[in-house]
Symmetry: C2
Subunit: 155 residues, 2 copies
DNA sequence: TTTAATCAATACCAAACTGGTATCGATTGC
DNA sequence: GCAATCGATACCAGTTTGGTATTGATTAAA
């Protein structure tokens, strides 16, 4: 249904939690308690965002996690890609392009364009935007402004 | 991975085929041969777009399908929704909102905003835009123009 | 150096979804 | 009545997803 997975959503929740105390390290247990997610689920979430470089982990006693960059430097696209891999609305626009009906399907390039547009939108919304409720009003304007500046090559 | 199902893609291909000869009725076999899709798959595709009112079916001998509106009156959003139901990126933004961690998850409204933006984008790209390769150049401008006029309530 | 705390890697499972196909019934024109 | 055509449904295998558990590696500190 054109939806993103729950884990991606959890990822955003966790990053939000880490951003609340960017300086201190928070353990899996800390995050679990703060967010209401189970420990096991938190572990799974952490793997994705650590691998993506959005969070820095320290092992061992007194270890924990801390956010790798300022929330304004982390886009929703970063988070989505951390969990769902490279975004491609259709297989046509995926890297390993293998459409069997390509002759009759000259529409793939257009999907690619829509895909690019979506990337631009998600890439221009930062974790900071999404965290702060006060920013919601101006966020709309930000997005529209950004879109004006977009240079879509293949649309 | 935030992707649209193959059936949705097929739907666009089939609608394109129907638009090529908007006046004449085309049977399942006709469409199958023209698109390269199997008859069984075409049947499944037709059900969705007929139910959505995008295509008109006539049963019985000499029956067939014809497109219900001009291609310029059919948006990509229409097609996507015909196959994937109402679009909601997260369960938070779905109608039956039942997020278990709502207290710690104040982000839902923002997902809703992104969701709305996506709806606007897809709703403003028509089948006509996507069919005609010559329009691709101006399509980009169209979208940006449309986005400028968007009034996003909850973003 | 031992220990306890903590992250890392992997594996597992059930449920849901997806793509693809088949079957039988209902309509309609000739 | 018959042949052509759409409609509804059901089925199945493969994949994905959400959720959980297990075992191993690392580190700080006693």
């Amino acid at each position: 249904m054109l939806r993103i997975g729950k884990l991606t959503d959890y990822g955003l929740v966790v990053l939000n939690q880490l951003a609340l105390a960017a300086a201190v390290k928070q353990s899996t247990d800390d995050i679990s308690q703060a967010t209401g997610l189970t420990v096991a689920t938190v572990r799974k979430v952490m793997k994705a965002i650590v691998d993506a470089g959005l969070v820095i982990a320290q092992r061992g006693s007194k270890g924990g996690y801390r956010i790798a960059r300022a929330p304004a430097q982390i886009s929703v696209l970063d988070v989505v890609q951390a969990f769902e891999g490279p975004i491609s609305l259709t297989e046509c626009s995926a890297d390993d392009n293998q459409c069997e009906i390509t002759e009759s399907c000259s529409l793939s390039s257009n999907w690619t364009g829509i895909n690019d547009l979506l990337l631009q939108v998600l890439g221009n919304i930062t974790l900071d935007d999404i965290r702060n409720p006060d920013v919601q009003e101006s966020l709309h304007h930000q997005i529209v402004d950004q879109l004006q500046r977009i240079q879509l090559v293949n649309l």
